[in-house]
């Protein structure tokens, strides 16, 4: 309940304040959002399986975001930023799909 409320509060805050993204962070924010989504779906799956641990979730959420952003940063420095961010998005997308497939089994029994 609190989790859903937190998501709602974040969305509302974003809609109200609509701050500008600093130019330096611009390429990393979308990757970070996708990485965080991956962590959230992983956490939801773990919760349904009964093995959820909030400490693990916090660590995985933050490390997901940091690692995804730093991979893109490294790629930018090496001159392959576009390709590397595409690769990160693909990997995270695959993980999100598999997690959601598992969640679907628990929720819809299908």
């Amino acid at each position: 309940m609190i989790a859903a409320l937190g998501l709602l509060v974040g969305v509302v805050l974003g809609l109200i304040f609509t701050p500008d993204v600093p130019a330096g962070l611009d390429p990393y924010l979308p990757i970070a959002v996708v990485a965080a989504l991956d962590a959230v779906f992983g956490a939801l799956r773990a919760y349904l399986e009964g093995i959820f641990d909030d400490k693990v979730f916090v660590v995985s959420f933050l490390s997901n975001v940091v690692i995804a952003a730093s991979i893109v940063y490294l790629g930018d420095k090496l001159g392959v930023g576009g390709q590397l961010s595409t690769g990160v998005i693909v990997v995270l997308g695959i993980r999100i799909f598999s997690n959601v497939a598992q969640i679907r089994r628990y929720v819809f029994h299908a």
Binding site: G10, L13, G14, I51, F57, G82, R105
Partner: protein, 255 residues
């Protein structure tokens, strides 16, 4: 990377039908989800904070993606490519502008030439129309009134008068307000008077002439000139200089 998934369950991500968790486990998972909705806990608060951060970031990203211009997310090399592409485009556009402006100048010049030719043609048409007696004319000139005496005026005298006036620069002439004198006008003598271009005229003959009044009057007053010829035949001649004479009679061209 998330570590909630233990190794033992990792292969469940694959969509294998024979490896499904049993119904009991599924029911337990759903039950946990329902409990979570109604029983808040410390763990939920932490998750809520992180989800708030996620929602915030996601909304910002969506906003910047839709409201900002398309170049915000580009990398340096992409921006350089876009810039050089734009430079080429603007160069081509500039070349096109120059061509079009040159074409416009040409058209402008030819339009002015055409306008000059048109006004020259209109002026010529006006002059020719006056000479041919096709348009009414107003201008300075003289009015000659010839009143017959006992005998009719001589046709030769009338012709001489017309010729003298033409030599003196008469631009348009009419007789009695009815007949326009043009190059091919003819004068005949009739029992009652004169017939000019098929129109019978009787004394007094009023000759309206447009031209320089002094020159015209001088041409008429020569020694042995038209006035003296008329006077010899017993007619009286009156010449008046006018500032504005309206010549309204038109010559009808034989079609």
């Amino acid at each position: 990377m998330p570590d909630e998934v233990p190794h033992a369950t990792e292969d469940r991500a694959d969509d294998r039908a024979d490896d499904r968790p049993d119904n009991q486990a599924e029911e337990v998972g759903l039950q946990r989800l329902r409990d979570a909705v109604f029983r808040p806990s410390r763990a939920q608060a932490v998750v809520g904070v992180l989800l708030a951060a996620l929602g915030f970031a996601a909304i910002i990203q969506v906003r910047t993606n839709t409201t900002d211009n398309a170049f915000a997310g580009y990398r340096e090399q992409d921006l350089v490519n876009v810039l050089s592409g734009l430079a080429g485009t603007s160069q081509r556009a500039q070349t096109e502008i120059n061509q079009l402006e040159a074409a416009r100048r040409q058209l402008e010049a030819s339009r002015q030439a055409q306008r000059a030719a048109l006004s020259a043609a209109q002026k010529q048409e006006q002059e020719l129309g006056i000479l041919a007696g096709l348009v009414p004319v107003t201008g300075p000139g003289i009015r000659v009134t010839v009143t017959e005496g006992p005998q009719h005026v001589d046709v030769d005298s009338v012709l001489d008068t017309i010729e003298e006036l033409r030599s003196a620069g008469a631009e348009a002439m009419q007789v009695n307000g009815k007949v326009r004198l043009v190059a091919q006008s003819s004068v005949q003598s009739t029992p009652s008077g004169l017939e000019i271009d098929g129109t019978e005229l009787t004394s007094p003959y009023v000759l309206d002439v447009i031209g320089d009044p002094h020159t015209l009057q001088g041409a008429l007053s020569l020694i042995d000139g038209p006035i003296s010829q008329f006077k010899d035949s017993g007619a009286t001649v009156d010449v008046q200089q006018e500032k504005a004479i309206d010549i309204t009679a038109l010559h009808k061209p034989a079609s």
